[in-house]
């Protein structure tokens, strides 16, 4: 086969054709994977809700709501036999080492933190990603934010700092404090 000449028409034609084919291929892949990616994300959130909240029988994912004055936080109310038993707040921090950190923080109705899970992070594998381990997260189980100083131990707070991952620990603290502030605002309003 002879090599295509580099005339203007040829160049435009070939590039357009390649762009079209690639757009079709990507559109197809996107359609194939989009649902599954969304499902993965939802499954992860659901799993996190189950860990941070006591047993519930409603659907906190479905009933999630936002509050206008508190940007970007998502509130998941949990009930058992129509009794409110807790509230999970999806919170974030931008102080993490790599990109945004997203946490799910569970509260009991009287404001005790019932658990924390990491939803999304870009911390260094082997270092900062220790924040996802149960060993680190279990210190947030059943603590009272009015008594527990939600700052890293290197900043004279009560959170055990992960060795060599001070920044990641601080980001977790920042995200939890944001959730606590929001919880107080929501509960105070009621």
């Amino acid at each position: 086969m002879a090599k295509m000449e580099s005339t203007f028409a040829n160049m435009v034609l070939v590039l357009t054709a390649i762009a079209l084919i690639s757009a079709l291929l990507l559109g197809f892949t996107h359609l194939q994977t989009a649902e599954r990616i969304a499902e993965n994300r939802a499954a992860r959130q659901r799993a996190a809700l189950e860990v941070v909240l006591p047993e519930f029988d409603n659907d906190p994912m479905e009933e999630a709501y936002e509050i206008e004055s508190i940007e970007r936080l998502l509130f998941h109310p949990a009930t058992f036999e129509d009794e409110p038993i807790g509230l999970a707040i999806r919170t974030y921090s931008r102080q993490a080492y790599g990109g945004e950190l997203q946490l799910m923080v569970g509260f009991s109705p009287d404001g005790i933190i019932t658990g924390v899970q990491v939803l999304q992070h870009s911390e260094t594998p082997g270092l900062g990603d220790a924040i996802t381990r149960d060993r680190f997260l279990k210190q947030f189980r059943d603590i009272d934010p009015r008594e527990f100083d939600l700052r890293a131990s290197v900043d004279n707070g009560d959170i055990d700092t992960i060795t060599a991952a001070t920044i990641s620990t601080r980001a977790v603290a920042d995200a939890i404090r944001r959730a606590v502030d929001a919880f107080e605002k929501v509960e105070g309003a009621q």
């Binding site: 690639s22 990507l26 996107h30 790599g98 001070t166």
Partner: protein, 192 residues
């Protein structure tokens, strides 16, 4: 708010240095660092393209990809924008400022596959910066790249005169040196 901007600049320049902490732009870092003068030329070209590319990719994402919900085309769109920008910059530079073109021309084609440019464009998305923060972040990152590259080139010029064990010559000793430089940059941790 001003404090936020200072944090972005310090973080991008030193704490999260593009080359030594984020591992972006390693190819030019190792490739054009054997002489100080070429390192400076490369840095200038990167700074120029990185700033424009940061702004251009930000605008493309905000006003084209997001409204049309085509975020999955981001990688393709960004690399095409960067590749065209590099060509455009080269053509404009040739016309407007031939001396500048002569100085930076040889580095421009290399920049398309410089992961630092693409990396910064993607980091801007990841950090969800607004336009002002985007510009600041792109410039500060480029300065961080320059600091690392120029410091490294300075060290390598001296290293070239040293007796190095046969096994370590070339790439290995350069990497170990970069490691020590990265170790020094870890001292900036906690600044921002």
């Amino acid at each position: 708010m001003a404090g936020d901007y200072v944090t972005i600049v310090i973080a991008a320049m030193l704490v999260n240095n593009l080359v030594l902490v984020q591992f972006l732009g390693i190819c030019p870092f190792l490739g054009v660092s054997s002489r100080l003068s070429t390192a400076i030329g490369m840095s200038a070209a990167v700074m120029f393209v990185m700033t424009i590319a940061g702004i251009a990719t930000y605008l493309i994402r905000q006003f084209l990809l997001m409204p049309l919900e085509l975020q999955f085309l981001q990688t393709v769109a960004f690399i095409l924008v960067i590749a065209s920008l590099v060509q455009l910059v080269e053509i404009v530079m040739k016309k407007v400022s031939p001396p500048l073109h002569q100085a930076l021309g040889v580095f421009l084609p290399l920049i398309t596959t410089n992961c630092a440019i693409m990396g910064v464009a993607l980091l801007i998305v990841q950090h969800q910066y607004d336009l002002a923060q985007t510009i600041l972040f792109a410039i500060a990152s480029a300065i961080g790249f320059t600091i690392a590259l120029v410091a490294f080139a300075g060290i390598r010029e001296r290293l070239a005169l040293m007796p190095v064990p046969k096994a370590m010559r070339g790439g290995p000793i350069a990497l170990v040196t970069a490691g020590l430089l990265a170790l020094a940059f870890m001292g900036f941790q906690g600044l921002a």
